[in-house]
């Protein structure tokens, strides 16, 4: 597996690579999780928002008098009331050249630019009373023409949504690498398709939630929020509110799903902070499900026109794409809304050898909710476009799609590799992954079964999708663009007097198993039982500084920080034990909570004795011995801007050609995320990601009418994937450890979502192929399939 020397992580009693159940899951299983809505504070107020009913409208007048008089209502505010409290923000990253956006405020000022934009806020003794008051707020609106589609927004002569910006082009990028025209000219076959990807949204089970507690006495603000990045949130507060760095604390307790949704700055949440400052009372806002649909970030909404040139012998000669995406009226702060398109440009085709690549990206403003980074940012699109083209090309030259991949995937020996768009791959395993997959799914057997069933009128499809995933981003991702987002993370590890270990770390937990992963690493290095490690996360006052958990960085970056901190503490413990035992620290080791003789393994003293001596009995130690039973280390990726992972997914499904209904029969994933700390956690991360990808492929779509109104903004009408329609998902692993870190772990959080839509789309097209039909529009609904079949 790993060719490197044995480390602590490889010791026989190591927890690394073992599937240990998550210790912190026990309380969740008993309903004892503490989510923001579970926190009760004295003097608590509840906020509710009046939101724009129009996609685009001028606010001529707001009358809040009647609402203010309602029982239980403490305050009703509009933009004017918050003007001096919170400065506006602009969601651009300076390293995305030419990117622009307009200033955004907690509440819409004179104009609302999407249906759902917050316009007024009520703080009341209960949420129900706050909602009662909303009905009493009178707004005089003047409807303005909406600009719902990205095409319309960029059409010549289209009116700029923000006059000051001149037009609606938020960002554009072009790549032209190699000799693309030449490659298309000499190709034996050229395939082309326009792929579309619907707008969809994250639908976190726990909606966005924030509780802002402001103590007017010492001017301290404590934010309890459902977020992935507490330190970033604190930095944001400091940038926009008149508060001192010493006086803001951000606490994230349990987070009920986030997937990227809860890492952005939302105007309503900023308004809640402002209300708390204004009123000197704690204010809570838990978005309800309906407002979540129109106020959470949305994702995707891309139309990609794509072409691929291929030779008769199955060489992919060139790829060209043109992506148009609509991001709503503002670029989201502070990560911007241009990253998804940017990643599509970067990623498309990058796992194949072809050096000829051309891409164009246009990112448009429009009057729909802001769109931004959601799980697997850009990957599912880049993957579906690439893999969709590969299958088309295979059909065009009558080659088996697995064979075409085999001939074009970057060879496992070819690394390091630089893609035409400039991505650096340290070491990936596409070829091995593909072979492993074909064996795992019994590709040949399935093909036979497919042929046999076809003869009986049963239409089954097989879809493959290779992919890469961006993980462990370095500072070149956001920090360089001016965003207060840390690419490094820190971990402190402390030996307690009783021999247990407390570990505080800046990466956060949303159920991925972050705390378990950290405990596994720390316990392994320190030679203690997992149960003897307590991990603290999600509190800016109690953990070292760091970025948090996003972009699949928790294990790769946080895990390495934990490893290095634990190693440092281990050295300190052995120093102290050496002093106590008058032995050379190098002759000692720690195992199962004991200081042992390194050579023989004989037990010398328990860790609790070291702890007690260090903390209580300094008098017994040799002179000049200063016990340091706590150590802190940070880790920041340096060698590569990202750590890429790779893998391949496959889908096996049955198509009812009369109804257009698709039944998912089985899904497979072969994934290489470097060293795995816990296969148990990795597997369900992948599966959860796959199901989000399957949702996108088959079900999820924010349906808008021409006026820019969301038509399906309830959980009954917006179709999320549920258990009955989802297949069993088999996962297998390869481990190519990451160089440059001792842990060697890469990320895993987004791989499932990245590849699943492509695999399903290819499987559907595989089933459709003998009927001369194909689909390229996601979600692939029964109606779209029937239309492709010409049955309507």
């Amino acid at each position: 597996m790993s060719e490197r020397p044995l480390s602590f992580l490889d010791r026989p009693n190591s927890y690394i690579g073992k599937s240990v159940p998550r210790p912190n899951a026990q309380r969740l299983l008993q309903g004892r999780g503490v989510f923001v809505d579970d926190i009760r504070l004295p003097r608590l107020l509840h906020a509710a928002f009046l939101r724009s009913p129009y996609a685009h409208a001028r606010i001529k007048h707001i009358d809040t008098a009647a609402a203010s008089r309602r029982p239980g209502v403490v305050r009703v505010v509009t933009a004017a009331d918050l003007a001096g409290l919170c400065t506006p923000w602009v969601g651009v990253l300076t390293h995305l050249k030419g990117m622009k956006s307009a200033p955004q405020h907690p509440l819409a000022r004179d104009r609302a630019c999407w249906q759902g934009e917050p316009v007024a806020a009520v703080a009341a003794e209960s949420r129900a009373e706050a909602e009662d008051a909303l009905a009493e707020i009178a707004v005089e609106w003047e409807e303005l023409p909406p600009l719902a589609s990205a095409e319309a927004a960029l059409a010549p002569g289209a009116r700029a949504i923000h006059d000051t910006l001149g037009d609606n082009l938020a960002f554009a990028r072009a790549v032209d690498a190699g000799a693309v025209d030449d490659a298309f000219a000499r190709a034996d076959a050229v395939v082309a398709e326009t792929f579309t990807f619907a707008r969809h949204t994250g639908v976190c089970p726990e909606p966005r939630s924030i509780l802002a507690e402001f103590d007017p006495g010492d001017r301290r603000l404590t934010l309890y929020c459902s977020s992935q990045a507490p330190h970033m949130m604190k930095e944001i507060v400091l940038r926009h509110f008149p508060l001192a760095e010493t006086d803001v604390r951000v606490v994230c307790r349990d987070v009920g799903g986030s997937y990227g949704v809860k890492i952005h700055v939302y105007p309503d949440e900023m308004a809640v902070i402002a209300l708390a400052l204004l009123l000197g009372r704690p204010v809570k806002f838990v978005a309800d499900r309906l407002e979540s649909f129109v106020s959470d970030i949305h994702a995707r909404e891309h139309r990609v026109a794509a072409r691929m040139a291929v030779s008769r012998t199955g060489e992919i000669l060139a790829i060209a794409i043109d992506d148009l995406t609509g991001i709503g009226p503002y670029s989201t702060y502070p990560r911007s809304s241009a990253v998804e398109g940017n990643q599509i440009v970067g990623l498309t085709g990058s796992w194949y050898r072809s050096a000829n690549y051309r891409a164009r990206l246009r990112v448009a403003f429009q009057t729909k909710p802001p769109m931004s980074q959601y799980r697997a940012v850009g990957h599912p699109i880049a993957c579906a476009v690439t893999e969709g083209l590969v299958d088309l090309a295979a059909r065009a030259i009558a080659m088996d799609p697995a064979e075409l991949r085999r001939r074009n995937l970057i060879a496992d020996e070819a690394y390091p590799w630089k893609s035409p768009a400039g991505l650096l791959f340290e070491k990936l395993s596409h070829q091995r992954a593909l072979e492993r997959m074909l064996e795992l799914m019994d590709y040949e057997g399935l093909r036979r079964e497919q042929r046999d069933l076809r003869a009986k009128g049963i239409h089954r499809g097989i879809g493959l999708a290779s992919f890469v995933e961006i993980t462990n981003p370095g500072p070149a991702f956001y920090g360089v663009g001016g965003a207060p987002i840390s690419a490094q993370d820190g971990c402190s590890v402390r030996l307690e007097p009783g021999g247990s270990v407390t570990c505080a770390i800046s990466v956060t937990e949303q159920g991925q198993g972050t705390e378990t992963m950290v405990a596994q690493i720390v316990a392994s290095v320190l030679g203690v039982a997992l149960a003897r490690v307590r991990v603290v996360t999600g509190d800016t006052e109690r953990t070292p500084y760091g970025g948090g958990t996003w972009a699949s960085r928790g294990t790769g970056i946080g895990g390495e920080a934990a490893l290095q901190a634990a190693k440092a503490l281990r050295a300190n413990i052995l120093d102290l034990a050496g002093a106590m035992l008058q032995a050379a620290p190098g002759d000692l080791d720690i195992a199962e909570g004991w200081i042992v003789d390194a050579e023989t393994g004989a037990r010398r003293i328990g860790l609790e004795e070291v702890g007690r001596a260090g903390y209580f009995r300094g008098d017994t130690l040799p002179p000049l011995t200063q016990p340091e039973l706590m150590a802190t280390r940070h880790h920041q990726p340096r060698d590569y801007p990202f750590a890429f992972t790779n893998g391949v997914q496959a889908s096996w499904l049955e198509l009812d050609i009369e109804t257009g209904f698709v039944r998912l029969l089985k899904h497979w994933v072969v994934e290489d995320c470097g060293r795995m700390v816990s296969p148990l956690l990795v597997d369900e991360q992948i599966r959860g990601g796959v199901v989000q990808g399957l949702g996108a492929a088959l079900f999820e779509e924010c349906l808008y009418d021409a006026a820019g109104q969301l038509r399906n903004g309830t959980l009954a009408d917006y179709l999320v994937p549920m258990a009955a329609e989802m297949p069993d998902i088999e996962v297998a692993h390869l481990e190519t450890p990451l160089a440059g870190t001792e842990l060697g772990a890469k990320g895993i959080g987004e791989a499932g979502t990245a590849g699943a839509p492509a695999a399903v789309m290819n499987a559907i097209n595989d089933a459709l192929a003998p009927l001369g039909a194909r689909v390229s529009e996601q979600p692939i609904t029964p109606a779209r399939i029937l239309r492709a079949l010409g049955r309507l």
């Binding site: 928002f49 009913p53 249906q115 038509r711 009408d717 029964p782 109606a783 309507l792």
Partner: protein
Amino acid sequence: MLTPARETRRARWEDVLKAPSFAYLRASSLAQVFDALAEHGEDARILAGGQSLVPALNMRLSEPRLLIDINPIAALTGIERRGGMLRIGALTRHSEVGASPLVARLAPLIHQAIPHIAHPAIRNRGTFGGSLAQADPAAELPACVLALDAVLHLASRRGERAVSARDFFRALYETALAPDEVITAIDVPVAPQGTRSVFVELARRRGDYALVGLAAEAREVGLRLVFFGVGNKPVEAGAASAALAAGITAERIAAAQAALARDLDPPGDLQADGATKLHLARVLLGRAARALMAA
């Protein structure tokens, strides 16, 4: 679609999910319900299973002054055979109907339909009468009672009346129920020997309201085909059924499928346009007819 009016609320967008204030009456007898309805008229709403009404209240799509909870009224529950009729109390829960051996034997169409309604926790609360009163055009039970020629018993302080299913469903979410009336029970004619029932439905996900569904009942007197999810109420497909009147054969199925265009003119909804729905209705018709043929 869970609630009909969501799209019509454009002028205000309050995004609320806490029910507005109302008064609550725990009714222990029908007389009490009649009085309250007579007194409060349109301002009052009957609360049965609440599985349709409460979402609408939470979204404030409906803001009644008074909720009359009929759940305590035992007389409204139960399933029994009365001569040629199977009587189902209006308050009988979907799960009880689904588990009833009487229903399975005497009204197999309904037995087949129940598992398509929502999910177990919702079936434990939702009621037979509530579904009919709600009259969702994509719901299963209105189609079944129409296919079975059931009779609904309506009562108010003014007295009782029996209304045939055919007369009960009028327009989108509109029924023959007067503001002061309660559905007390439903009489379903017992399926005679030799009856064949087929219930088929297409829904995007398990338990969702139907994209298109078909309740088909073949009795000696003839074949009843009732589609749902294809109009503003359950729709009887007379032309299609006439095409199959002389017995089901492959050619007649094709003719019936063609004739369906005369029976249905489905409006589009969030999931599919009208043409797709008509196509799917034809597919279901073919499948149901072949199943009837085989039965």
